[in-house]
Structure formats: C-alpha cells, structure tokens
Amino acid sequence: MKLVYFARVREAIGLSSEECDVPQDARSVGDLVAWISARSEEHACALQDLSRLRFALDQEMVADDALLGAAQELAIFPPVTGG
C-alpha cells in the first residue's frame, strides 16, 4: 500500500510518501497506523496521538476504525486548515 503524509506529519516523518506491505492482522486504519508507528522513532512521534490525525483511504476521508479492504493508498495528516 502507498502511504502519503502531509503537513506536520510529513515533516515529522521526513517523507511525503512510502510503500508498505500491509501485515495480515492489520484490518483497520488504526491497526495499520499502529504498525507503521514502529517503523522509526520519527514515525512513532508523528503518529502517537490518533486524535490529532485524520485519514483518507483512496482519497476519501475515513475514521480510524475504517476497514482497509482493498484500498491502495492511505493518507495521514493533521486536521485540515484551508480556506
């Protein structure tokens, strides 16, 4: 799956995107985010507080309990601040 990061999350992780092989036991967005957190200290720091993160699966906003299903792209970012 393609992981994409924006704003503070992108800066904290130091990447705008990366690939990952989703582990079998990761069924929800929350599961996958917990697993990604273990990749590095930077990932752990960027992703530690789910309440301050928002998620999009294949470019649709979802909650952290959304099932990954066959999605190909997970985006992780702070609450939006456009306009």
Partner: protein, 146 residues
C-alpha cells in the same frame, strides 16, 4: 456551471463572479478569503493533496447543488506561497433568488474549511514558519450544515 480550480498563481475573484453573473439568475453571492497579517505574518503557504483536493471541492459543490436550487457554483483555491493581502480562496454561487446563493456560499466556505485537504503554514519576517492549528469554531460552523 460547476467549476473547481486549484491555482499556483494569483486568483482574480471577479473572473469567476462574472461567469456566475451571466447564468441568467437574479442572485450571485461570493466569499473571498484573504491571507491576513496576523501578528507579523508575511505570507502563508498552502500544501494540499493533489487529486483528493479536486474531488473534495467537486463533492462540496455537488452537495450544495443537491441542497439548494443553484444555477452554478465555483470554488477557486490557491496553493503554494500566498503573500499577505492576496486572495487564498474564492467561492461563489448563482441562483434565481437570493436565499439559495447566500446560503450556498456560506455552506461552501464553512465545509471547505473542515473537509478539503489543505494545510496552511504562516511565514514570518524572521524566516520562521508555523503550521496553523485547526479551529474548534470552524468545526462548529461546519456542523450547522450537517
């Protein structure tokens, strides 16, 4: 007429409004958001999620069109560096009678603020920059339309 534009260059608010005014309706309403000098800010910088941004703004216009009887609606949003004083976003709507255009305009900007994947960073004269935090007041305004 449904127009979504993401622009790296300066926005001309009157272009979109002139298009809306030509649709035969009696009412055109618009909102322009401007980069503001909020305590020493020299520019703001907007990051976005290409692809999702356009889809998100288009679905906002679809939602407005489903809710009100509109002849047209536009959203133009700038990305990249925006100097203080320049427009960041223009939303507008045209309708036969004024209630629809006025309400749809407020709906579009309120929902854009909480749904569209943009992130804003403020740049200061001393070269530092700071991500802007989302505001609870924006969530409250967006929920009026739920």
């Amino acid at each position: 007429m449904k127009i979504v534009r993401i622009s790296n260059a300066a926005i001309q608010p009157d272009e979109g409004l002139a298009a809306l005014a030509g649709l035969g309706g009696g009412a055109v309403s618009s909102f322009t958001g401007i980069a503001r000098d909020d305590g020493g800010v020299t520019a703001i910088e907007l990051e976005h999620y290409p692809g999702m941004t356009e889809a998100s703004l288009s679905s906002l216009i679809e939602a407005a069109t489903a809710r009100w009887s509109l002849l047209g609606a536009i959203i133009t949003h700038r990305v990249g560096i925006v100097p203080v004083g320049a427009p960041v976003v223009v939303v507008g709507a045209a309708s036969l009678h004024r209630a629809a255009a006025l309400e749809a305009t407020a709906f579009l900007i309120d929902r854009l603020k909480t749904e569209a994947p943009f992130w804003k960073r403020e740049h200061y004269a001393d070269g530092t920059a700071k991500w802007v935090d989302a505001k609870a007041s924006d969530d409250a305004r967006a929920e009026r339309w739920a």
